[in-house]
């Protein structure tokens, strides 16, 4: 398989696992049974965490939260293609990729609870903290990729972003830099059809987003983003290209945001429920469950056990995040500089005195 077999200008799109659970045996990755089940486990874990987060937000126990429901295959399939030496540069909806990387769930929860400690992600994970300003981080991914090459370190970079980000100027600058510098970076666009209320066809007039690669001198490929095998294959191939010094790749993973943009958003104002229902039939867990069942790798009892185990893990992480003492007033100041400058030391003392009721 080569990228040129799936030319987006000819309307090609890579799919291995169809919505009915049938696979293209020529393209199926060589996964053993345990790995096949692990893919399901990761997707289910993200789904369950996501639903817990939505519920916690409704109960006032979590701040504004951007759900990923529907995008599990995009993130699990791609994150599983990464080596430990590869970097992840996420936007803000990459819960599943972050979990696959092994970041503790309580850390992720702390961030969405409004605690800075949630962005303290140890460097060994090679995963940057969430980036909320849309598209700005695509340039950081290119910089990291250029630095890896300069330092002759192993590894490549996967940068996640959405269809909306492809409209931002920074995205185009990132693609330009990556192309010219042949940076070892994979631009992974999760086209989830909606940027808050703006549908994909209003976001960009091109037939596909994958064609954008052409204009920057890199291959672009459109893949079925609800098919973890297609995602895995495309990402692996792009990473091999990157590591071989052949430069960047643009992947458009076509998926669907089943939930709202964030908990602050009401999608019923701009899209029909019928559309969402139609897309539910195509979501990744449904088809992957069918696939496993056909191979004798799935039973309801197995999934029930898995759910019980994952629920226990989630409840423990929520408990740990909720007993976290939270920031004190000094936390506002103490991470601003390596050494606290005098004016900030004064402001810090002033706040502490005010809170203590001292004159």
């Amino acid at each position: 398989m080569q990228f040129s077999d799936f030319d987006p200008l000819k309307g090609k799109c890579l799919q291995v696992l169809a919505p009915d659970g049938e696979v293209d045996p020529k393209l199926l990755p060589d996964f053993d049974d345990d790995t096949l089940r692990t893919v399901f486990r990761h997707m289910l874990a993200a789904r369950l965490v996501d639903r817990h987060c939505m519920a916690l937000q409704r109960e006032g126990r979590l701040g504004t939260y951007p759900p990923l429901e529907g995008q599990e295959a995009c993130q699990v399939g791609s994150a599983l293609a990464l080596a430990e030496t590869d970097w992840i540069v996420p936007s803000f909806r990459e819960l599943a990729a972050t979990l696959v990387r092994g970041v503790p769930l309580e850390t992720i929860l702390l961030y969405w609870m409004g605690n800075e400690e949630g962005s303290r992600i140890p460097r060994r994970f090679r995963l940057l903290p969430v980036s909320i300003p849309v598209g700005t981080h695509t340039l950081h991914a290119v910089g990291i990729a250029m630095a890896l090459r300069y330092r002759q370190e192993e590894g490549a970079v996967v940068c996640y972003f959405g269809d909306g980000a492809t409209s931002e100027g920074d995205f185009h600058e990132a693609m330009t830099f990556a192309g010219v510098r042949r940076a070892p970076v994979v631009f992974f666009c999760q086209n989830n059809a909606w940027a808050i209320s703006v549908p994909r066809n209003i976001q960009c007039a091109a037939e596909s987003l994958a064609v954008k690669g052409v204009g920057y001198g890199m291959p672009g490929i459109q893949i079925d983003g609800n098919d973890p095998f297609a995602v895995f294959l495309a990402t692996r191939m792009a990473l091999e290209r990157a590591r071989a010094g052949s430069g960047p790749t643009f992947i458009e993973a076509v998926t669907y945001r089943l939930g709202p943009h964030t908990t602050s958003d009401d999608p019923s104002r701009y899209r029909e429920d019928a559309e969402v229902e139609k897309m539910r039939a195509l979501e990744p867990l449904v088809r992957y469950r069918c696939f496993l069942e056909k191979r004798g790798l799935w039973s309801q009892a197995w999934e029930d056990d898995l759910v019980r185990e994952l629920e226990g893990w989630i409840e423990e992480a929520v408990r740990q995040a909720e007993v976290h003492p939270g920031p004190g007033p000094q936390d506002v100041f103490d991470h601003m500089f390596a050494e606290l400058p005098p004016h900030l030391a004064r402001q810090r003392a002033e706040l502490l005195a005010a809170l203590a009721g001292e004159g």
């Binding site: 504004t64 300003p133 506002v332 402001q347």
Partner: protein, 325 residues
């Protein structure tokens, strides 16, 4: 007189100006079908059509730069940025082009446009959704910066901003979008730019505050009144250009001044107001000007934002300090 909140008042201003002037149009992310993430533009696309209320791609520099192009041809675009935290990509357009065009073309071209955006903290919003960068904007030549603190002012100021011959940045304190209701006159209501509002008269100390901080200053003034201190509150309403005369006149009367703002302290507008008082009212000052502000730090996430935002406690302490100087 109608009772409106800030969101309703801004919506009414936009509706009235769209009705009155076919050269007015709106553009921004989610402003059309969605009616804006805070519902400020609710119903306007339905009323005025997709050609005048435009849902744009997700690109702040694009929104502002395109609006500038429209203004060059004589339209009066009102661009919306979804949050002030997403202003930075558009700053290049504002600094490099919008604030300069009248001067560099010697008046051949102008930019009669408005850029609206919600700003400020206090609603437990996610990262990048709580910034107060009005001082950065006030430092840019060639643009005006307006901040309403009441529904009536929001209506009258926005209408004047849209009609203004020069570019106006219109910052909406989202903490009081719905928290403050007030009487708004029926019929045409205009509030000229550059003129302060006397929020509360008092003889002992002048509090200068704008946006959501006006409400905090009012609460502090109530508390201080209980201690026998009569605080006068001035809301400049336009932070660039400032109504210097109104501030000076008040401080010449009271002899004391406390400036309250959410934005970081260093090079904030408190510093500017303090310098103006040094220039114009030095001999009437009975105590140094005190600033109650956000800190020179990153705006904390929700769990820590109450440490950062000026509140009644900090304002009252500052006033006590200046009274006992």
């Amino acid at each position: 007189m109608a009772q409106l909140n800030l969101v309703d008042a801004i919506n009414r201003a936009l509706r009235e100006e769209l009705e009155a002037d076919p050269s007015v149009l709106l553009l921004g992310e989610d402003v059309g079908k969605e009616g804006g993430v805070f519902r400020v533009t609710e119903g306007l696309q339905q009323a005025f059509g997709e050609e005048r209320v435009i849902d744009t791609p997700l690109a702040e520099s694009g929104i502002v730069g395109v609006a500038f192009g429209m203004a060059l041809l004589g339209l009066r675009p009102v661009a919306e940025l979804q949050f002030m935290g997403f202003l930075p990509p558009a700053l290049d357009q504002i600094i490099s082009h919008i604030g300069r065009i009248r001067n560099r073309s010697r008046g051949e071209y102008t930019a009669p446009m408005v850029i609206r955006m919600p700003y400020g903290g206090g609603i437990h919003a996610p990262e990048h959704h709580s910034e107060s960068n009005e001082a950065i904007l006030a430092h840019i030549p060639g643009i005006k910066v307006v901040i309403p603190s009441t529904p009536a002012d929001a209506l009258g100021l926005l209408k004047c901003a849209i009609r203004d011959p020069d570019p106006v940045l219109f910052l909406e304190p989202k903490r009081i979008y719905r928290a403050v209701k007030g009487e708004v006159p029926d019929g045409e209501h205009l509030v000229p730019l550059g003129r302060a509002r006397l929020v509360r008269p008092g003889r002992d100390v002048t509090l200068v505050a704008w946006g959501a901080m006006v409400r905090e200053a009012e609460k502090a003034a109530e508390e201080l009144a209980g201690e026998g201190v009569e605080a006068e509150i001035i809301d400049p309403r336009t932070v660039s250009p400032l109504d210097v005369e109104a501030i000076i006149a008040s401080v010449k009367k009271t002899g004391r001044c406390v400036v309250v703002h959410e934005a970081p302290r260093t090079c904030g507008l408190g510093a500017e107001i303090s310098a103006l008082l040094m220039e114009e009212a030095l001999l009437q000052l009975r105590a140094p000007v005190v600033r109650v502000t956000g800190f020179d730090t990153v705006m904390p996430l929700p769990k820590g934002e109450h440490f950062y935002l000026p509140d009644v406690l900090r304002i009252v302490r500052a006033v006590q300090k200046t009274m006992s100087f």
